[in-house]
């Protein structure tokens, strides 16, 4: 099936304005008759829930954390892009649009990306009005920095805690609506299924994580703002609780899953230190503005380094390989994330890695400290250096940081049209949970932008069009579909609890993560992917035979929560492999070793793969059906990305 993006026709810059005008409106007096469910309270969810409640809709907001303020948006460090052009350095809506399309390696939808760039300016205004304390210049106006390879300064930031401050802003707006009685909050509540009636989403099934109570909630529309699925790799920079369950269960109820293989591996993370490792910590990309990335020129020197026979400072400049500066003279250390990550992997694969495991490269501030002083570097990155030292026990002012790429963000997600509607009418997906704006690679400081754009400025318009069409008649909460979905959830939980096998949930999760990282990580090929598919299928069988989940449903049971999420990761993992196998080209974060330029860069195949791969669930253990949304580029010319 060819998917219709419902992108409006007409000139790019007029699409959104025209679309808003053409969308139906809900009468203000009728808004209170509509109920909307929002799952997830990160930037997308909190901003959507608050904005819809302000409009007058009745909103229920759900999160699995103990408070909406803890959603993982809070951990974003670097900043948020907006085409304000406050710096007079040539930025514009079109340039942000162009950079995002190019950065995504021409695998995103023009109309969505342009809209994102267009509303980016409103986001900053909104956040400032809420009291978000962005960095400022001495004159009192907002400060900007250049970020992640952008050649203009369009990133707004709040020290290294931009995500925290933006989320607290959205959380405050949400809290205000809770106080007004417009939003009912359900913390420590996990969405277990979507309820559909006549093909439309009409509610959800939830599990109260404290009591274990399985409940149903009816509504006119359901918004999934549930984040990304990076934890399929076990080790990632995601929070421990981040999961795919809401999106995956929606997928099994008919929502297509788009481009699952597009994973962003962030180049600057603290390397793995041992088997006990539970998560990886990101060091903000902003460090690459001043840090220089290098490894020793020869394997022999690296070997000595790993054995502790020499120290980094013993290695002379001529024996160091500043490989990013060497290969990409114009962008140097600031090449996009996918390029930086792949190059780190390459030099480590050559045996030039610098820590005990051989899986690390140096990020060195020696020259920046000599140039600008230690105090200047401390003022810029103090909190990051402290964090690094706390975790590794090494002082980065004196010895170079060691970094290695780690799974960070997933560009794939639920397929949505221009209205952010999934293929199930009434079911929407916002933020990282959808696939829409970043193509095959996301630019730095664009995730926060997208989450808030979707929640504050897109969904309030597009949902009205749908709600006006279906009318305000209450949803029948006694419809048999609710009881049926509830029973399905209860049965699945009972099944997990009754296996009583011999291996812990983490055992399976770690194994899955290892397979994904090894065969569906920074470099992929048909042989490895085919092998991985079999391995995952075996692991899935083993899981359902031998997993050990203690305790009961009717209590706080963190093992049960984890088991239910890992069960979904096992299924998603297989789909990621299928998607990576199908896409026999390299683009952005998806690198097929079969498809590279003579210099080893990602080589796209626009003739055969300029489409969104949207997968339809057919049945348990049956292959999924591939559907395509062709990508048409009317406003940019497809080129080979070059950062030389």
């Amino acid at each position: 099936m060819i998917l219709d993006s419902k992108a409006p026709i007409g000139p790019l810059a007029e699409k959104w304005t025209k679309h808003k005008f053409n969308s139906k409106l809900v009468n203000p007096a009728n808004k209170r008759k509509y109920e909307v469910i929002v799952v997830g309270t990160g930037l997308a969810g909190a901003s959507a829930a608050a904005s819809l409640a302000e409009l007058g809709y009745k909103v229920k907001a759900f999160c699995f954390q103990d408070s909406p303020r803890r959603a993982h948006s809070i951990a974003a460090q670097g900043g948020i892009n907006a085409a304000k052009n406050y710096q007079n350095d040539g930025d514009s809506v079109f340039r942000l649009f162009y950079d995002t399309i190019k950065g995504g390696d021409y695998r995103s939808r023009e109309s969505n990306v342009y809209r994102l760039a267009e509303v980016s300016v409103n986001i900053i205004d909104q956040c400032v009005a809420q009291g978000v304390p962005f960095a400022r210049e001495y004159g009192g106006l907002l400060a900007n920095r250049s970020f992640g390879g952008a050649q203009v300064s369009r990133t707004f930031y709040a020290r290294g805690q931009t995500g925290q401050q933006l989320l607290l802003g959205a959380y405050s707006a949400l809290s205000r609506q809770v106080a007004n009685g417009k939003v009912k909050l359900y913390p420590r509540t996990e969405m277990m299924d979507v309820v559909t009636i006549d093909g439309h989403a009409r509610g959800i099934v939830t599990r109260n994580l404290i009591t274990g109570a399985i409940e149903t909630h009816a509504a006119h529309a359901v918004l999934l703002c549930t984040g990304g699925y990076g934890n399929v790799f076990f080790l990632s920079t995601n929070a421990m609780g981040s999961n795919v369950t809401a999106a995956w269960r929606a997928h099994k109820k008919g929502a297509y899953f788009a481009n699952p293989c597009y994973t962003q591996i962030h180049p600057t993370c603290i390397p793995v230190s041992g088997d006990h490792q539970s998560k990886l910590t990101l060091m903000s990309e902003s460090l690459r503005n001043d840090g220089r990335v290098w490894v020793p020129k020869t394997k022999e020197t690296a070997e000595k380094l790993r054995k502790g026979e020499i120290k980094p400072k013993d290695i002379k400049d001529e024996d160091r390989d500043y490989y990013l500066e060497r290969k990409y003279p114009s962008f140097g250390n600031l090449v996009p994330r996918d390029v930086a990550s792949r190059n780190a992997k390459d030099v480590c694969d050559e045996g030039r890695g610098v820590n005990e495991t051989g899986q690390a490269v140096f990020l060195d501030f020696r020259d920046a400290i000599n140039r600008d002083s230690e105090d200047a570097i401390r003022a810029r990155y103090g909190n990051l250096f402290d964090m690094y030292q706390q975790i590794t026990g090494e002082n980065p002012y004196q010895t170079p940081m060691k970094i290695y790429p780690a799974v960070h963000y997933t560009m794939g997600g639920l397929w949505v049209d221009y209205n952010l509607s999934t293929t199930v009418p009434g079911l929407y997906s916002l933020g990282e949970a959808n696939f829409s704006d970043h193509g095959a690679n996301r630019l730095g400081a664009s995730a926060l932008m997208q989450g808030l754009a979707d929640g504050y400025f897109v969904i309030p318009y597009t949902i009205g069009d749908y709600l006006a069409q279906i009318g305000p008649a209450p949803v029948d909460a006694n419809h048999p579909a609710f009881a049926e979905a509830e029973k399905g959830v209860k049965d699945a939980i009972q099944k997990l609890l009754s296996i009583n096998g011999s291996k812990t949930v983490d055992y399976f999760h770690k194994k899955l993560g290892h397979i994904m990282w090894e065969y569906c990580g920074m470099a992929r090929n048909a042989e490895g992917l085919t092998k991985a598919k079999g391995m995952i299928q075996d692991l899935k069988k083993e899981f359902w035979k031998d997993v050990k989940v203690l305790g009961a449903n009717e209590e706080l049971n963190q093992t049960l929560e984890k088991a239910s999420r890992v069960a979904d990761f096992l299924e998603l993992g297989e789909l990621m492999i299928d998607d990576a196998l199908n896409r026999n080209e390299s683009c952005g974060g998806h690198f097929r070793t079969e498809s590279q330029t003579p210099e080893g860069e990602a080589l796209r195949d626009d003739e055969n793969y300029a489409y969104v791969a949207a997968w339809k669930f057919i049945a348990e253990n049956a292959p999924e059906e591939l559907n395509k949304e062709p990508l048409e580029f009317e406003n940019v010319k497809l080129t080979q990305r070059s950062y030389k």
Partner: protein
């Protein structure tokens, strides 16, 4: 950069040499952990010996190891709250050897086992406060914090229709100071540290942030009144200026916030008809 942060840095630098020495060392520890089946259960300490703990592990990774062992033996794993494990979400909340988040001024997730020695006994409890009832084991209910924010911790603006961001210039010094208050992660260590279980540091941080910024001026008075009233209604105690909250706050939120909140509250009550 505030003074507090510099002080912390000095301490960390001194620790650097110790850390190198301890690397690769595996430790044997005795854990005394508060186990409580649910809110209604009385609860008690249970002792668990644990071996092979690497100094590179984070404290929560050590807890993961324990839970894997307990699960393998068919015992209910110890429940504790945690999520981002990067010190920013505020979800982790253990009271370790008499200190919220343990011996360092960090969150528990950023505490590493190199801060302990082989043979140590470590006592782990939940936050103890009337307004933070225990849910299970080390998990507590902190929804009272949400309700304090709901009482007024916001600027009442709707989405859309706001002025251009640069139409509200804010002197850098004020913006920075407001930022210092805004970095609160809502973990509740201040309450756990306080002998009165007072939530003054948490509440005052939000009141201060918005009282300093021009955006917060319109509702300045009513905000202070309402948030303080909610804080009292939740059953948090009063402040007796011991400074334990500031000393234990992983984000270095300063006591000056409490002084500012008191001023705000006083000014509000002089003018208000409701207090």
């Amino acid at each position: 950069m505030s003074k507090t942060i510099h002080r912390v840095k000095v301490v960390r630098r001194a620790r650097f040499h110790v850390a190198i020495e301890k690397k690769y060392k595996h430790m044997k520890l005795t854990l005394k952990i508060w186990r409580q089946k649910n809110a209604g259960d009385k609860g008690s300490f249970v002792t668990y010996p644990i071996d092979g703990i690497s100094t590179d592990m984070s404290f929560l990774e050590m807890m993961d190891v324990l839970n894997e062992e307990l699960t393998a033996n068919g015992e209910d794993p110890v429940h504790f709250d945690h999520d981002c494990r990067e010190g920013i979400c505020g979800m982790c909340s253990l009271y370790i050897n008499g200190h919220p988040h343990g011996p360092k001024q960090t969150t528990t997730c950023q505490l590493h086992m190199r801060s302990f020695s082989d043979g140590d006994t470590i006592t782990i409890e939940p936050w103890r406060a009337k307004a933070f009832p225990v849910v299970k084991d080390l998990v507590v209910d902190r929804s009272s914090f949400d309700r304090i924010i709901q009482a007024g911790g916001y600027v009442s603006v709707n989405t859309g229709g706001v002025p251009d961001a640069n139409e509200i210039p804010i002197p850098k010094r004020i913006a920075d100071e407001a930022f210092d208050s805004a970095t609160c992660i809502g973990c509740g260590a201040c309450v756990a540290a306080c002998k009165n279980a007072s939530a003054m540091l948490f509440t005052s941080a939000k009141i201060s942030q918005l009282a300093m910024l021009p955006q917060g001026q319109v509702e300045r008075m009513s905000r202070a009144e309402k948030m303080v009233a909610q804080m009292d209604a939740e059953g948090f105690g009063a402040c007796t200026n011991t400074g334990a909250c500031e000393a234990e706050c992983p984000k270095g939120i300063s006591l000056t916030n409490i002084a500012r909140m008191n001023r705000e509250y006083f000014a509000a009550s002089v003018k208000s008809e409701t207090v």
